[in-house]
Symmetry: C2
Subunit: 222 residues, 2 copies
């Protein structure tokens, strides 16, 4: 590749990375606002999350298109190729995270003006929402900086999410559960949305590790 | 590309297509057997599904590796490139379908020797399992034959799955539900596994349509 082409290619790659980081901001904000909408039974906020998800989908489609054009035209090899293929996978994870935030918002909208979450579970859901936001902020900085040390911390956050998710199930299944089946079903789905969201954030981080080291990240057995 | 190289490339592409079709067989069989394990509370069968999923994961890793090597070495353009990138996406869908079948089997194992599914829901779950298997058989033949007409039929099957899924929720939420919260939670998760499985099968079919026509498949509003 002659010098000018290489520079153009670097610019194009950087703009793809920037868009991935932008997607982490959008889906992080979406999950934060969806959690608030859920806990406050705020219909307006829920609807804004549902509508905003389209922008994430558009960003993803646009990013994928550009990555594919680059692969086709530049025939990149080694790290450049891996970077582009990894970008396609990360955009898929991030789009899915946007969908999951939208699912949480839809649940808030479906039950409005009632609140989905009983008082004694609000703390757990709030914490799940906060961990989800922390995870995606870290994923964004891992994408931007290729900081693979931070990827290990993200696994710890994900363990916390799993523990909260298990705790939620114990409460649902306890003999003294008094909120009926409809609420149990709603909370079950909510819990799964947060947990899957976290899984995708971890997948994003692991993809960066693989990109940088060429080795899949195997978390230590916990 | 000289003649011999082109022939080798065609052979490599075909072997990737063959492996995708093989993955549809494996994840279809996994969901069929997971459904039986769930309905019969069959621990041995459940465990065999859980163990077999590793093979799907291995197939996917291997297929992805080969597709990436082809992209890197052959610098394919146009349809060839699209075929390879689509293969990477389909392998991700199919691996996820394997995970979802494993989740169903794990639920059967978790509740063993009890049965997860109350008598009056067995019919619905059986039908969801059957539609899941039909969907993946069709997806396999769509991959193998690039039969984009069949892709439209698959959307109809998916509508049936959605209707069954909604029906399941109505039963769970009905005031005369008498199986308690634990079962409601289990059935909620099960329902979601089947529904997501179907969504991924539809995604596979849509990817083939996009590959063949260059246009995303937009299903008619239902």
């Amino acid at each position: 590749m002659v010098h000018g082409l290489r520079e153009q290619f670097e610019t194009d790659l950087q703009s793809i990375t920037d868009d991935l980081v932008e997607m982490t901001h959008l889906v992080g904000s979406a999950m934060g606002r969806a959690t608030t909408a859920l806990l406050d039974a705020d219909l307006t906020l829920a609807e804004s999350v549902i509508e905003a998800d389209e922008h994430v989908d558009t960003l993803r489609t646009d990013l994928d298109e550009r990555a594919l054009v680059l692969i086709a035209r530049q025939a990149p090899v080694a790290t450049d190729l891996r970077t582009l293929v990894t970008a396609l996978r990360m955009s898929a994870d991030l789009e899915r995270m946007g969908d999951l935030a939208r699912h949480v918002a839809k649940l808030a909208r479906l039950r409005y003006p009632s609140s989905v979450i009983p008082a004694e579970l609000r703390g757990t859901i709030l914490e799940m929402g906060q961990i989800a936001e922390r995870l995606v902020v870290k994923a964004g900085s891992i994408i931007a900086q290729r900081d693979i040390k931070a990827a290990a911390q993200l696994e710890t956050d994900d363990d916390e999410m799993d523990a909260l998710h298990r705790g939620l199930f114990s409460l649902l299944m306890a003999p003294d559960w008094k909120h009926g089946v409809e609420t149990a079903v709603d909370v079950t789905l909510c819990g799964r949305y947060y947990e899957r969201y976290a899984d995708h954030a971890v997948a994003v981080a692991r993809r960066v590790v693989y990109l940088v080291t060429g080795e899949p990240y195997i978390p230590p057995a916990s």
